[in-house]
Symmetry: D2
Subunit: 445 residues, 4 copies
């Protein structure tokens, strides 16, 4: 049986991830992601109503037309977690394939919401939630397994496709966090066992391979946030925290810190509402009882007015906008476009990194400047990454002992760094470690 | 009574700190520091036997000749802690003044060792150890108080000189760590009270004012180190950690982590021995019973040979050399100049930052390259700073409410950043915040 | 007679320059500039109709309210050249003073156009054009002299105010170009003579003091542009060049290169039209006969349509938009918002640097990305600065031998670098070299 | 006939270049280079007496053991120019092959000198000088042609190997300079013709592909140097210029500028003597009659003493040491280790870039600091690159129209950038553009 890897998207950029694996006549697709930064350049782009081909044209979603020449039938679409660069193109591409979408329960729920918001296409693929530790029989030859791992969103797994020639591990977006804030540590024992059973190939995220050492645990980020917030126990000024809305562990920590200093945590912003409430409803997290959530702009502004009236020191708003995105709440706060007036000594905490791009840097610099002009005190980088660093990859490859490595989720330069790293482990360019570009196909046997 | 601040050293560089305060006819000197990087350029310089004037010439020690024209008598030399950029010039300069040297007990002991190593000058000033929380009467008009604080060396204080016109606070090298590993948090209550009693001036370190937010606690660094070390509990390879030898809290953490994974901690290097044993003898720290310490090169090499024989996995060497200093143990290890051979998979942890300078970057890059070529895996930045960041300064100034701020311990560019920061608090250039250069004098009333 | 320097604007930022000099009871103002980047943050700001106080509030124009407490009458407003950061606030501030505006002829004409576009205030100050080399009697005690210099706009001078206590030189925006493209080299002989007559103070631009060596001549930029353009003599693709519209020397070079390879130069954009036609009408430059100029958007688009029809290879458009400014022509071209379609192999030359700011970097990155996606080939940095570098300042201070130096046109950090430089020449902080902040006043005698 | 490219050295680093081309049973080797930075780490390494295998071990020379498994006989060793990273390993490797060394006349002479200095091996390969524009018959099937090009050393060519399957172009180290200072522009007509005849593959340097636009002409560098030197016509201070000793065009310009301001040019340093005198003797350049050359340390110091005595303003020393190399003349001058004392106002011009590496940055920073402390004024970056930039490569590939591109002379990251560039031209990863690592082999048909 021929095994082939097809690099569909995410091999010349960060975002719009999509990889297909063909085993004989059967194809399994991993991820269908969206690249948001491409959309931001075209300011008037309305994704909901756009056609796939136009989105492919501006490189916002993977160009899956390459699959037309691949001799096989798509049997499953598999998503490792619920971030948009992994599930965001499903509403635009999934309907082209008669195949179920298999994802973790939380990701499945987010995919469902994505699909329901789609206005151009009708997506009717079956949604199959699969939990970490479980298996799903794709076909007579293929079994899918979800191995527990950690990432910056809850309920993330490392999908493993068992083929007659060995396992194919799709290790895209993971972190070997031994002391996570929500959930258990990655299933090291299972990874080691897979290595013993035989791993044909690992498709692995490469953008963070240059970071030396290990990625710090989410517990570290939690302590960084906690130390700052609790140091202002007696402060009469506002404390506002911005974090990734999908980062439920972080949101939980922040909300608990708010309680610890006697402030009511308030989750503000549509995406905060979406990720937070979904997680709570599905029992992934238990957020403080005192916490309230507001997603709609009108009610947000009403709540902000109430805070001004009752006293800023009684609340701790958790908001969107750490990238300075136009329209996000923190951006509006910085521009003075809300009923909530910033004052000298107010604290603004960024519990998120700046996703590196000139636009993000500019947006962020602008709101920091406006916040400072309003007298706010700024705290940045109260954050750790959700991605494996170099020595995490070293351990991971040591556990899996793969025959082949395919660096993914980054451009060729990032993949090259992974090749150099793999070289230290004995892998050889184009023999056992294979950098690829979008649209390229690789026969493994 | 005229109050005057004289910027002697450390106002155009980082290092060789020295500030004098004249109150009427009495002068108190704060710190007499050494600037090591200047010495490294002149490779054949032997500090022990060099004359003060030659060291002044190459800008390695403060140019205290400015004090000849200051109308007053030096009544005390005060050191806030035991780092070389604060005490290192004492053997070269202190004998010129008939005045006691007042420092914390640990710093006093280190000063005593400095003086005993001096070969050019005979330094006979009285050494007066003063504990945090204690006071010392300098003269009828002047009382010195040591207020407890935190830094990257144990037993650090913020000296306060009480004058008839208010307190003068010498806040050079401090960190507002609320959860330190050794000792208690800074004495916030006393700082607040000083603010109420009236602070005439704060002489304050400025180099870190550009760092946003608060400096992370030493507890964070401890966890970073701990997470990495304990993740290799079952690893058969070497684990070698390099840290600042004077950073007793860090050394303690590392040694405890070694024990936790069943390895014997071994402190190697002359300065490791000096700082570690002195701290233990003085009961500042209790290091693991299993720990051994070797300072002499011959015994170090014997110990390294023993490790090779008994098994690397039984030991955890804590070594000097994180800056890639020629001659330091890690540098020798990297060059293969010891009986200890590095092998594929050995772990080398840098629990220290690179002190920014082109020479340090080059030295460090070189040993990292050699370590990697030997197959070692590198972990960097398992470290936090020992200096107050921007919002720590914000809190500090809020507590002290000083009339005047004198940025110190950095060049004019760094001081300018402090002026900009002070401007946000309402201070005005040359009226209430005073950037200075070496040799300049400032009348405060 | 008391001499006082009042730092009004441009001492905590780059832009909104304004300095006042008081000699006894008479005040001379140098420059009234606009800071454009502050306006860009407030996207809906319409400068034409805004009130001074609102523009002061957002730090877009100098806060001249400090002058209310200065005991003296404004006798003249002097502008060294026609850039907006020197003349842009005149429509908002000049009417508050009963004083003539004295500027070089070209700058005077640009000021006239500025004033005529103002919609909020009525500015009726007399405009007095003064040529390089000429003098103007301000009062019995004060004589103004314009000394010829070079900069990135034609007709730039170094104003010198002769007072009973010596000359005050306002050396803001200059370049010691010995081989300029338009006009003659700076009047070195006169500067040397001023040094001999006695210079009390130099108010000098400081932002470029960190650049080592000398600023390259405009001739170098000319050759860089020429080499690229002429290398495409036989190329059938478009060649589009973007440059600062006020940089007449550069525009002239580009237009001549167009002719040299047989293409018609076409100046496109409102500011291109304004600066170019004004310069030509005033006989400062003779542009190629074949050149045409279009400022109005409708006619620009008509011309672009014509180029598409007649063949891109027949024209060389010189356009605005090198900073990726929204609405500028190059930005529109990049977004495909014009009748002119970019194609594979088209050349786009940036004969301008990116003015460093996060917003400019983002805007520029975005259009470069779009241009590249359209297949265009990009050429950057075909440019040299218009500002004196470190060794130019060294020569300049050597010529003038001033008693005092006041670094201007930059924030305190930049001024600090100038202090460090001045230190190498023997000047001392706060004695003979005086960093200032907005609103501060300095008595010189 | 099988055509194979073997990446021997220079594919994971910059330096130690070596590529072999196998055509059936015949092999042609291009370059045998030395990587100097690897030697500098091992300070006690004496290259002259070291064995090849030890030099291979420390990655200082190419690991040509890979050629043992290549089925063919080496017929020729070809060098494109005389830089050490192209010819420096010849004394260590060439004797292993029974094949002539074919190089340009100037490179041949430098190779001869290299070989004569070798102390370990006896190298007896025939040296065959071949001029630009000439051809050499390697075998019945293979003809070698040297096409004129430009680089930062005189007499550089682009070797072309004509095979039955088309030409193989070895475009390593070249610059499309249309206005060079010595020699004629590259032979564009011949490159275009080669493209029409059919180019099978181009092996092309990749490290500069990220530089946008075109590489500036050597004429630009000449003007930069000239403008600075001639601006000090009346200066009584020293003017010292450091440049790459092999950069004969630059040395010529500097020497002519010295004459222009009435100073005697003096070439100082062993490598200055070697490259300069060889070039003059072979009539590649005519240096000013007034110029003198001193290579030996003793005579250099004598000459320096004479300059001090007769007056610094009478001479213009052209010296080695721009990288701050220990032992080089400028380094000695900076340390005060010569009879020539630097004084306030002396000018030191760096007509060279810093070759990027931490060690070079540190060495250079150190001597700049020492020069400045001695009062010298520093001029940097009076230099342009000798390598093709992105749009030069665009033109070059347009002329040659190759079937295959092999990026060389850089690590995989640099090669990846070239792949991305080639992608814009329609080349596809591993189909028509082939990044390689040391030891890898590529079948082209």
């Amino acid at each position: 049986m021929e095994i082939e890897i097809i690099a569909v998207g995410g091999y010349e950029e960060v975002g719009r991830n999509m990889t297909a694996v063909r085993c004989g006549k059967e194809v399994v697709i991993f991820d269908m992601g969206l690249r948001l930064d491409q959309l931001m350049v075209h300011e008037d782009a309305e994704v909901d109503t756009m056609h796939s081909l136009d989105l492919i044209q501006i490189k916002a979603i993977p160009d899956d037309t390459v699959l037309q020449s691949v001799p096989g039938t798509v049997k499953a679409i598999v998503c490792s977690h619920g971030h948009l660069d992994h599930i965001g193109a499903i509403p635009k591409l999934a309907h082209r394939y008669k195949a179920p979408i298999i994802a973790t329960p939380y990701a499945t729920e987010l995919i469902r919401q994505q699909i329901s918001g789609e206005k151009k296409f009708r997506v009717e693929n079956t949604l199959v939630p699969l939990k970490a530790g479980q298996r799903h029989t794709v076909s007579r030859n293929l079994v899918l397994e979800f191995v527990r791992t950690q990432h910056s969103i809850i309920d993330t797994v490392t999908p493993v496709l068992h083929t007659p020639h060995g396992a194919i591990v799709y290790a895209c977006d993971f972190k070997l966090d031994r002391t996570p804030v929500i959930g258990a540590a990655p299933d090291f024992a299972r990874f080691r066992q897979l290595g013993k059973e035989g791993v044909l190939a690992v498709i692995v995220e490469c953008p963070y391979i240059q970071h030396p050492g290990r990625c710090p645990s989410e517990r570290i980020a939690g302590n960084l946030v906690r130390d700052v917030i609790t140091s202002y126990e007696d402060d009469p000024n506002a404390i506002i925290v911005s974090a990734f809305s999908s980062h439920i562990s972080r949101v939980k920590t922040i909300a608990e810190c708010a309680e610890a200093i006697g402030r009511k945590p308030v989750l503000l912003g549509r995406s905060m509402e979406k990720y937070g409430l979904t997680a709570e409803r599905m029992k992934f997290v238990s957020l403080p009882k005192t916490m309230s959530v507001f997603g709609n702009r009108r009610v947000i502004d009403r709540m902000l007015r109430r805070m001004m009236k009752e006293g800023k020191e009684k609340f701790l708003p958790i908001v969107t906008g750490h990238q300075g995105e136009p329209g996000a709440l923190l951006t509006r706060l910085a521009h003075g476009d809300t009923p909530y007036q910033l004052a000298k000594g107010d604290k603004v905490l960024f519990s998120a990194n700046v996703i590196p791009s000139p636009l993000n840097h500019a947006n962020r610099a602008e709101i920091e400047m406006l916040l400072e002009r309003a007298g706010a005190r700024i705290f940045t980088e109260l954050h750790v990454s959700g991605h494996a660093y170099r020595e995490d990859h070293f351990e991971f490859m040591h556990l899996l002992q793969p025959q082949h490595i395919i660096p993914a989720h980054g451009d060729l330069t990032m993949a090259s760094k992974y090749v150099q790293f793999a070289g230290e482990l004995g892998f050889t360019l184009n023999d056992s470690v294979h950098p690829m570009t979008n649209g390229r196909r690789l026969r493994l046997n």
